[in-house]
């Protein structure tokens, strides 16, 4: 085997892979960062300046959505549909079948340079320390082998690197220093929602966000267009491409290759089966290449990373845990209307949050918490098309009149909750569907159990209650994950833990039984948290993992 041209190869250029590559360049290592998807150009690709900006939420490019398979989903309980169904005034029920439906691609992600940070809102959440010991406290999921105290300096470093704007109040998440930037001003709509939260006795905080409230590190501040999920053309949102990857490339030690697909992981032989010798990749022109590497990091997310391991027979399979413990978005959003001009299409998405129910024991009789935040942008209820199709029923001149009252006057609360492992929720290989290289697709098995239903019921009651307290008299739409598989956050399929019999990676994200082989994405999460967005934790874990790699 020819000597390696790089000190490490990182596969997957999303939140985890980007942070990993950057940290490696800080250590002076030469890094090759690969992604199967394309690169995006913030100046040209997002379309927020176009008159038809609303027609597509995130303008995918060829190859930027990975192929996945979803196994048949469970039957719905008609007795729960009144409480948990998804519907809108304009379109009626959004699932007319007797079983759960896959919403859009089901697994909402971006494959490419920057990964799903390109379309994420950019919430920069730390885990609630109380949610990191679910096994020992409640007998569910697994405990984190890394403590909040060990992660705290890394959280702070990532926040300072990205320019996170956050509130003064730390609440359950103690901090060794304030956020680097002041919190964003709350929008009119979020101030209205805050009145409801206050009436219910809930603290209504500025949400920590990696969008700039002041110019920072050569990037401008946010202009409150509300379009984070479309991709940020200004570069004030701290997506991985304009932060970690840009800095890694500026070091001169990081080579980035888009449209490059990993098709084989080559293990050592004889006494060296515990190392990875090389990987085989195919580039966008179809050229296959073997790349030798002393270190390999997989950072492809909790669907693709276990697939890559399962495709290599026996690789990291000792625990039998690869692909198991799949955790997903558990969410419920309510959208309503007030007769008040709030310009709710503008402002920073998810600018305000309540952690009132976030602790895992916050709701009596329910294990696992949730958070609620302003959600009109994530509900995609901002522009005229969304209102015309979904929020305003009917047609004709009256429809036009109602449109003029509705646009800018809709409010939404989204609840995102803990997802707990279940034996029926997992990722495996689809025996029938293959990719362009003849390799099985990842197949997602998603299951909503009774405990999740209990949590969803509490969440739905809370979103409706908060809207009502804020003065909303008419609900126009609700969307939840009881009757849909719809997941932006996925976790757990390469669980982190000290015991190689029950975990795939150790606390330093090293794959058990291997040297120089790491996983740096949310597949390592032992538990999901009570609705926290995962990217900040992924990046903090990645920096820590690189620091603990041997030179």
């Amino acid at each position: 085997m020819a000597p390696a041209d790089h000190d490490a190869v990182v596969v997957g250029a999303g939140a985890g892979g980007a942070a990993t590559a950057w940290r490696m360049t800080q250590r002076g290592w030469r890094v090759l960062l690969l992604d199967a998807g394309p690169a995006f150009d913030p100046d040209a690709d997002y379309g927020l300046e176009r008159s038809d900006w609303e027609k597509e939420r995130f303008r995918h490019k060829p190859g930027s959505l990975g192929e996945i398979s979803v196994a048949p989903l469970q039957r719905l309980d008609p007795g729960l549909m009144r409480e948990l169904r998804s519907w809108s005034l304009g379109q009626g029920p959004s699932n007319r079948e007797a079983t759960r439906a896959v919403s859009g691609p089901g697994y909402h992600h971006v494959r490419g340079i920057g990964g799903s940070t390109l379309h994420f809102v950019g919430e920069a959440h730390r885990m609630n320390p109380a949610s990191m010991a679910m096994k020992s406290r409640f007998g569910v999921a697994a405990d984190w082998p890394v403590s909040y105290a060990e992660l705290e300096p890394y959280y702070l470093e990532v926040e300072r690197f990205l320019g996170v704007a956050g509130p003064l109040e730390a609440r359950d998440r103690w901090r060794s220093a304030p956020y680097p930037l002041p919190a964003h001003p709350l929008s009119r709509a979020s101030r209205k929602l805050g009145q409801g939260a206050s009436a219910l006795g809930f603290a209504w905080d500025a949400n920590p966000r990696c969008a700039l409230s002041r110019p920072y590190d050569g990037r401008p501040s946010c202009n409150y267009c509300g379009g984070c999920t479309h991709g940020c053309p200004r570069r004030d949102k701290g997506s991985a491409d304009v932060t970690f990857i840009a800095k890694a490339q500026a070091s001169g030690r990081c080579e980035v290759r888009a449209n490059t697909t990993l098709v084989r992981i080559v293990r050592g032989t004889g006494k060296h089966t515990g190392v990875i010798d090389a990987i085989d990749v195919v580039d966008g022109t179809g050229r296959r290449q073997r790349i030798a590497t002393p270190r390999l990091v997989l950072a492809c997310g909790a669907v693709e990373t276990p697939r890559l391991l399962l495709l290599e027979r026996g690789l990291a399979a000792a625990s039998g845990q690869v692909g198991r413990n799949f955790m997903e978005s558990v969410a419920f959003t309510s959208v309503g209307r007030v007769d008040e001009p709030l310009l709710s299409f503008g402002g920073l998405p998810a600018d305000a949050i309540t952690w009132q129910h976030n602790r895992p024991d916050a709701v009596a009789g329910v294990i696992g918490g949730y958070r609620m935040s302003a959600a009109i942008h994530e509900a995609d209820m901002t522009g005229a098309i969304a209102h015309a199709q979904r929020a305003v029923p009917g047609f004709g001149r009256e429809h036009k009149r109602q449109m003029r009252r509705a646009v800018g006057s809709t409010l939404a609360i989204g609840a995102v909750g803990e997802s707990l492992p279940h034996e029926r929720s997992k990722v495996d290989l689809d025996p029938r569907r293959k990719d362009a290289f003849g390799r099985s697709l990842a197949r997602i098995h998603s299951f909503v159990d009774a405990a999740t239903v209990s949590r969803l019921r509490a969440m739905a009651a809370s979103t409706r209650g908060l809207l009502a307290a804020a003065g909303v008299q008419t609900l126009v739409e609700e969307f939840g994950t009881y009757d849909h598989f719809s997941s932006a956050h996925v976790f757990g399929t390469c669980r982190m833990g000290a015991d190689p019999r029950t975990a795939v990676v150790d606390a330093d994200l090293a794959v058990h039984g291997f040297e120089g082989f790491h996983i740096c994405d949310a597949s390592v999460f032992p538990s999901s948290g009570g609705g926290e967005a995962p990217s900040l934790t992924i990046q903090a874990l990645a920096l820590r993992a690189v620091d603990r790699m041997t030179a």
Partner: protein, 182 residues
């Protein structure tokens, strides 16, 4: 991202008629429309048989249907001002299932209005559309109404000239919405 997208129906595209749409984007929009129509119509056995249609008459009916969904008022024009009906028909040309859904819907409208929806007065047309709107999803007419309502609304409100009177009257960038946080 905290919550999943709320657009859970197959996204009805907007058959773009004017504006900046590039050919590739237009093709993508057409694929979305056809996919939505095909998915929505696939379980309708009634569409297996194609009704005999007079193409010119159907075009007139569909244009007037679109203008009944989105008529002109004091501030903004009707759907026909943007050529929306013609563009939708052009986009579904060649897709048999979509063509049959269109034919079934227009036939229903004509039958409900004494044989020619396009010549009926506004009161009769609105009444026909209200009946159609109330039809079950499992009926061709009900399916046609839901799909075409979505498609027409998407095409209409992608036109800046339709935004007059709305609080949102420009794209999000480059100006942003500082006024929303004041």
């Amino acid at each position: 991202m905290a919550t999943p997208p709320a657009s859970n129906e197959p996204e009805p595209s907007a058959a773009t008629v004017r504006g900046p749409a590039l050919p590739s984007r237009r093709r993508a929009a057409r694929r979305l429309l056809l996919a939505a129509v095909a998915l929505a119509a696939a379980d309708l056995p009634a569409l297996a048989a194609s009704p005999a249609v007079d193409a010119a008459a159907m075009a007139r009916t569909f244009t007037v249907f679109c203008d009944t969904l989105v008529p002109a008022d004091a501030l903004t024009p009707a759907a026909s001002a943007f050529g929306i009906a013609d563009a939708i028909r052009a986009d579904i040309t060649g897709d048999r299932l979509a063509e049959r859904l269109l034919a079934a819907g227009c036939s229903w409208l004509d039958a409900t209005c004494a044989g020619d929806f396009s010549r009926a007065d506004e009161v009769a047309r609105v009444a026909a559309c209200e009946r159609m709107q109330a039809m079950p999803w499992q009926s061709p007419a009900g399916r046609f109404f839901q799909i075409m309502r979505n498609t027409v609304m998407a095409a209409y409100y992608a036109e800046p000239a339709s935004w007059r009177g709305l609080a949102l009257d420009r794209p999000p960038q480059p100006l942003g919405f500082f006024e929303a946080v004041r």
